[in-house]
């Protein structure tokens, strides 16, 4: 059997696992777990880009895979570790506006919505893997936005933002494989800077207030001069 015939299937599998990791980010209660799911999500994103680019060879996609593999599973967690103080990670329970089962059901609704919205678009003949990557990428985008809304803790909110970005990437590697490499590089560095800024901000929050629970930061407070 021709081994390249497996590639679309493997890409679909990577897509399924990508979606699963995004669900995990919504479902988990711990900052650590959220981070771990994000790392796996990025790895599946990179593997999808690799699978789409390996036959026929598209160098841009392979470069995207390499950039993602270095940037997201390695650099971003490392940067967060460096900037955000340890107490944030040792806190096991993340404060949430809704409880986990309800937010899982809402997440499920969002995924169904993503599939329903993209169904008419997929009638247009496109590349072989668009049918997988477009709805799953859109679903990850929606789930990331949802995580951003429902979590009240700084680091998981940041990870929600990054999940949105991953979702957009996941769609773009199938729709626009010839996207200029510069765009990818710029986005990669942008994300890195964003992580750095938010990490420093979280550190300042933790040092001044003793919590990173941004949900309770509703009132202005005057700081006494040292």
């Amino acid at each position: 059997m021709n081994p390249t015939s497996f590639l679309p299937q493997l890409n679909a599998l990577a897509g399924g696992l990508f979606l699963l990791c995004t669900f995990g980010m919504v479902a988990t209660r711990q900052v650590q777990g959220c981070m771990r799911f994000f790392i796996w999500q990025s790895i599946f994103l990179a593997s999808s880009a690799f699978l789409l680019g390996v036959h026929p060879v598209v160098w841009d996609l392979l470069a995207v895979a390499a950039i993602n593999l270095i940037n997201k599973p390695v650099l971003i967690p490392w940067l967060l570790r460096k900037t955000v103080p340890e107490e944030v990670y040792t806190r096991r329970e993340i404060d949430q506006a809704l409880n986990i089962p309800i937010s899982l059901l809402i997440a499920l609704g969002l995924v169904i919505a993503a599939y329903v919205i993209t169904a008419p678009l997929l009638r247009i003949p496109a590349g072989p893997s668009v049918g997988v990557n477009l709805p799953i990428g859109l679903a990850a985008l929606l789930l990331g936005a949802y995580t951003l809304t429902v979590r009240r803790e700084a680091v998981p909110q940041l990870l929600g933002l990054l999940a949105m970005e991953n979702g957009a990437f996941f769609t773009s590697i199938a729709i626009a494989p010839e996207l200029h490499l510069f765009v990818e590089l710029v986005v990669a560095f942008d994300v890195l800077i964003a992580v750095f800024v938010i990490g420093v901000l979280t550190r300042a929050l933790q040092e001044h207030i003793g919590t990173t629970n941004v949900g309770s930061l509703a009132a202005l407070k005057e700081e006494s001069a040292p």
């Binding site: 599998l13 696992l17 669900f23 089962p101 899982l104 997988v132 709805p135």
Partner: protein, 316 residues
């Protein structure tokens, strides 16, 4: 025809004979992981043997349900064994007697009777465990439904023998995202239904925390042996469905030759052993969930199964 009847009975014999060995293997290896030596692999056989030779004590306050339940709990997995592929990849004599839904009903019947019997004796721990089992059961039910409907929708049939062909022909079906997600959801279902660790601690004997175990607390003698053996067979049957229908339908006998069917026994046991290793890794690396977190665990399983269904329905 005669061969198919004989093999059908052989399946039952295999399940009855090897399910205590599976339980013993899991117990032993779990102790090994905890750097202890652990009981012998044959300990469950000795337990059952010992229980059969003991006297039975039955509360005067209990009704016929209490006496009747061990037989239901023992025979339900045997009936399901007649319906599912354990050793052969072609339908046996009674394969069309019932489908997977029927098998689910038969197992649910055993669970129903076990619950009633636990309430029957008015032992304070029995009803507590029974109500918790119902909690897990009704949360697991939607997962079972979605998994079952997706699988039978894909295969166009509800007979497990037909379903098992579907995922591996062509082989690329195996990597279908729906398939992988279904496998994960069903694995979580086995953990919940089999009373394994993130949901229930099978080796814990702390009455306030136990779920599955507390239902058979009141039994003694042969009845206890039947309950124990029935529980072990139920786990074995669930694992057989998982491995032979959904995950790895290889290594099963393809023809009616006796040698091939006999060769299938060690192959199936090898698969079950590998599954036991995975189960032990999961059990040793996770902690038991708090009772009200079980809804999250099974909620996650439900979400996964629905995601599998969606990705199948839309990915045409």
């Amino acid at each position: 025809m005669l061969a198919r009847i004989v093999y059908n009975l052989l399946q039952v014999a295999v399940v009855m004979g090897f399910s205590p060995l599976l339980a013993g293997t899991i117990n032993r290896l779990k102790e090994v992981v905890q750097s202890k030596r652990g009981p012998s692999l044959l300990q469950p056989y000795r337990d059952i043997w010992k229980f059969f030779h003991k006297d039975e004590v039955i509360s005067e306050q209990s009704s016929w349900i209490f006496r009747f339940t061990p037989y239901v709990v023992f025979t339900a997995p045997v009936f399901v064994t007649l319906l599912i592929p354990v050793l052969t990849s072609y339908p046996l004599f009674l394969a069309f007697m019932g489908d997977m839904l029927g098998g689910g009903f038969v197992l649910a019947l055993a669970g129903f009777f076990a619950t009633l019997a636990a309430v029957d004796t008015a032992n304070p721990y029995g009803p507590m465990g029974a109500s918790r089992t119902r909690l897990v059961g009704f949360l697991a039910e939607p997962v079972f439904m979605i998994v079952f409907f997706t699988v039978s929708f894909v295969a166009g049939s509800t007979i497990p023998y037909i379903v098992q062909q579907q995922w591996v022909q062509p082989l690329s079906n195996f990597f279908e995202p729906a398939h992988v997600l279904i496998l994960l959801a069903f694995f979580m279902l086995i953990l919940a239904e089999g009373g394994r660790i993130p949901v229930d601690n099978p080796s814990g004997h702390f009455e306030l925390a136990m779920i599955d175990e507390s239902k058979s607390l009141e039994y003694s003698g042969p009845a206890a042996a039947l309950m124990k053996w029935g529980g072990e067979m139920k786990l074995f049957v669930l694992i057989c469905i998982f491995l032979n229908v959904l995950l790895t339908p290889w290594g099963l006998a393809g023809s009616t030759a006796l040698s091939e069917v006999l060769l299938a026994i060690p192959l199936v046991m090898l698969k079950v052993f590998i599954f036991a290793l995975v189960l032990i890794i999961v059990e040793s690396s996770l902690a038991k969930l708090r009772l009200f977190r079980i809804s999250e665990f099974l909620g996650a399983a439900f979400i996964i199964s629905v995601a599998a269904m969606i990705s199948w329905l839309f990915a045409i």
